[in-house]
């Protein structure tokens, strides 16, 4: 069976003034048709870089893809020619919902103009596109959509603009949407609405979503599966409910412990996110891990399957059934 998206051993480095940042280290993931996969991690975990790598828009020449493969519908994306990528993949088969809607829309042009230029290649009739946009926006609970298209980005609110972005991502009927922290810059109430709408639209259309977020709670609401990343490495990957009930990786367990709890105690993970110019050897979480052993330093753990659809990258995963989440509730 050909999966929709398959990433193998992806390693990406960035050249900076202070040294070479090892942003992604042998990342593996897969995504099936119609699935919502949440990519969860702190800042610096590499999740945004991963999203950009899939679209092959990592800044060049600072960003270098050292090794790895990205297969989309069986085709290798990294080896694809730039023109073909633009014509077939970007904005067509794979679309993006950006993190900051205000930063991502060009302030000097109306939204209508920008959308028309983006979708001109696939739709010769601009009016056809506009009709579709208006239809989508109405479904996204944004009336007067036609007027909004004539406005400039700074004339809209955050919620309105982000709905625009979502509509734009759905317009070309893509197979995969990469949603890069789409609700991070929004108010909590707006966030709830947007999450609901995304889930609804996606399920209706059978679109797959790679949902990038740092918020486990948000991830739990919207995803079918969760992939936990830390410092550029994949730590754990499993169906959402399984992650909460049968957490395997020490880092994931710590993340769950940090979620707000009824007793009102605040817990945190000791230590700091590592410097990726000189990352820790072996498993990058070992300096902060309570279960760390000498082998965690010397040998980098690979993803091993511990159950159906449940993968962990750890020498010392927790035993089955021991989840801080279930312990609490």
């Amino acid at each position: 069976m050909v999966r929709l998206l398959e990433v193998s051993e992806l390693t990406v480095h960035f050249e900076t003034d202070r040294g070479e940042v090892q942003a992604l280290d042998k990342v593996n993931l897969y995504l099936d048709k119609g699935e919502v996969l949440a990519l969860v991690g702190e800042s610096g975990s590499g999740k945004t870089t991963l999203g950009r790598a899939i679209l092959n828009v990592i800044p060049f020449p600072e960003g270098k893809i050292i090794e790895g493969r990205i297969l989309f519908q069986g085709r290798s994306l990294l080896e694809m020619q730039e023109e073909e990528c633009n014509a077939v993949i970007r904005g067509k088969a794979i679309t993006l919902i950006p993190q900051d809607p205000f930063g991502s829309a060009n302030p000097l042009f109306t939204l209508g103009t920008q959308l028309r230029d983006i979708f001109k290649a696939s739709r010769d009739d601009g009016r056809e596109m506009e009709k579709k946009m208006v239809g989508l926006l109405t479904q996204l609970q944004l009336p007067d959509a036609g007027e909004l298209l004539c406005k400039y980005p700074h004339e809209l609110s955050g919620g309105q603009l982000q709905r625009m972005m979502i509509a734009a991502s759905l317009l070309p009927a893509p197979s995969l949407i990469i949603a890069d922290e789409p609700t991070t810059s929004l108010d909590v109430t707006v966030e709830a609405q947007i999450l609901y709408l995304i889930r609804k639209m996606v399920k209706e259309r059978g679109v797959s979503v790679l949902f990038i977020t740092h918020n486990l709670a948000v991830a739990s609401k919207i995803s079918d599966r969760i992939l936990v990343m830390y410092a550029g490495q994949v730590m754990e990957s499993s169906p959402t409910s399984v992650l909460f009930s049968e957490t395997a990786h020490p880092y994931a367990r710590k993340l769950l412990e940090c979620l707000p709890n009824p007793e009102g105690t605040i817990k945190d993970i000791g230590g700091m996110v590592p410097n990726l110019i000189n990352p820790p050897k072996g498993c990058r979480f070992h300096p902060r891990c309570e279960e760390a052993e000498p082998s965690c330093v010397s040998k980098r753990p690979t993803l091993i399957q511990i159950a159906a659809d449940h993968w962990v990258s750890c020498h010392n995963p927790a035993r089955k059934g021991q989840s801080p989440w279930t312990e609490r509730s």
Binding site: N86, R90, N106, L108, D117, A121, I178
Partner: protein, 336 residues
């Protein structure tokens, strides 16, 4: 409609500046010197003429009456009489204005036409040899004294290589009918192509001299604008959504990048007016700048004041034009 309101708002902003400019002129020229009458009348005036001037300018009356008379004179277009040319200063300015405007326009227009494409070109090819060469030219171009550059250019391209004439607007002997005062326009209108080419030749050296700092500034700011735009999220989003590269660069990035250069061009208009003084002097260009340079040496008081006011007004107009252009490009500006 919004644009018109914006335009008037900006004009209104300049009104107090204009009045203050006139006030500064008054302060500088009538209040500071020990005996302004002597200076206005000139060193060769007879005692009777001096007294006449004193009465005419009301310099024996109290201050506010003096200022009022001065304002009245200004708005009637009376800027006094030049000691040197014995003509009304206003007349001298108007007669010489086309020459300066033509030179300034060609210099600025040329540097914009060349500077923006070059700026975009080197920004897209960062750290290439073209980029480094450009950086060298920009740094050099902004550091060079325009009169020195003018002299050098005159020396090598004019005298030594004899490629271009070393001074003047047109070869004496060529008959050109004056319609607008702008030789390029006039020669085209009267189909006098010999005059047209000769004018171009004469324009070359002074335009290069005046234009190089403009060119350097425009390249620098266009390059910066493009580099800044490239880092922005909207470029990433457009790329991620498959916007074709030529459209991205030449429609979107260009417009974002051009904002900073437009602001600079507004200031450059002021520079061209000011810088014209030395460049016109070096190339014996019969414009307002040359007039100013001569009046400085001659201590032609009225002329210096007239020129100062003219430059201030030209500078304000330049900034106003730049603001307008900015409002056309950036929709956020109009609401500001």
């Amino acid at each position: 409609m919004k644009l018109l309101v914006y335009f008037f708002r900006r004009m209104l902003y300049f009104l107090p500046i204009l009045v203050s400019l006139i006030a500064i002129g008054f302060f500088l020229f009538y209040l500071i010197p020990a005996d302004p009458v002597r200076l206005i009348a000139g060193p060769y005036a007879t005692p009777e003429q001096v007294e006449k001037v004193r009465e005419q300018y009301g310099l024996d009356k109290p201050l506010h009456i003096q200022f009022f008379k001065y304002l009245m004179r200004f708005f009637q277009g009376d800027l006094g009489t030049s000691i040197y040319t014995h003509q009304p200063v206003m007349q001298d300015l108007i007669a010489r204005a086309p020459a300066t405007l033509e030179l300034g326009f060609i210099s600025l227009f040329g540097s914009i036409l060349l500077g923006i494409p070059v700026g975009v070109f080197v920004a897209l090819r960062r750290n290439s040899w073209a980029d480094h060469l450009c950086r060298a030219i920009t740094i050099g171009g902004l550091a060079v004294a325009s009169f020195w550059l003018g002299i050098l250019v005159q020396l090598y391209l004019g005298y030594r290589l004899d490629l271009f004439p070393i001074g003047g607007r047109i070869k004496p002997g060529i008959m050109l009918k004056s319609v607008t005062g702008f030789y390029l326009l006039d020669s085209l209108l009267t189909l006098n192509f010999r005059a047209f080419f000769d004018t171009l030749l004469h324009l070359t050296l002074p335009a290069i001299t005046l234009g190089i700092p403009c060119f350097a500034t425009i390249v620098r700011f266009t390059r910066g604008g493009v580099l800044d735009a490239l880092k922005k999220d909207y470029v990433l989003y457009s790329r991620a959504m498959g916007l074709p590269r030529p459209v991205l660069v030449y429609k979107y990035i260009l417009r974002n990048a051009i904002i900073a250069p437009i602001v600079q061009i507004g200031l450059l208009i002021g520079y061209t007016i000011a810088g014209a003084i030395v460049v016109e002097k070096v190339f014996a260009w019969p414009g307002v700048g040359n007039f100013a340079a001569t009046s400085i040496i001659m201590f032609d008081y009225n002329a210096i004041l007239g020129f100062t006011l003219w430059s201030g007004i030209a500078f304000c107009l330049g900034t106003l034009l730049a603001d307008l252009a900015l409002a056309l490009v950036d929709p956020r500006e109009v609401s500001r």
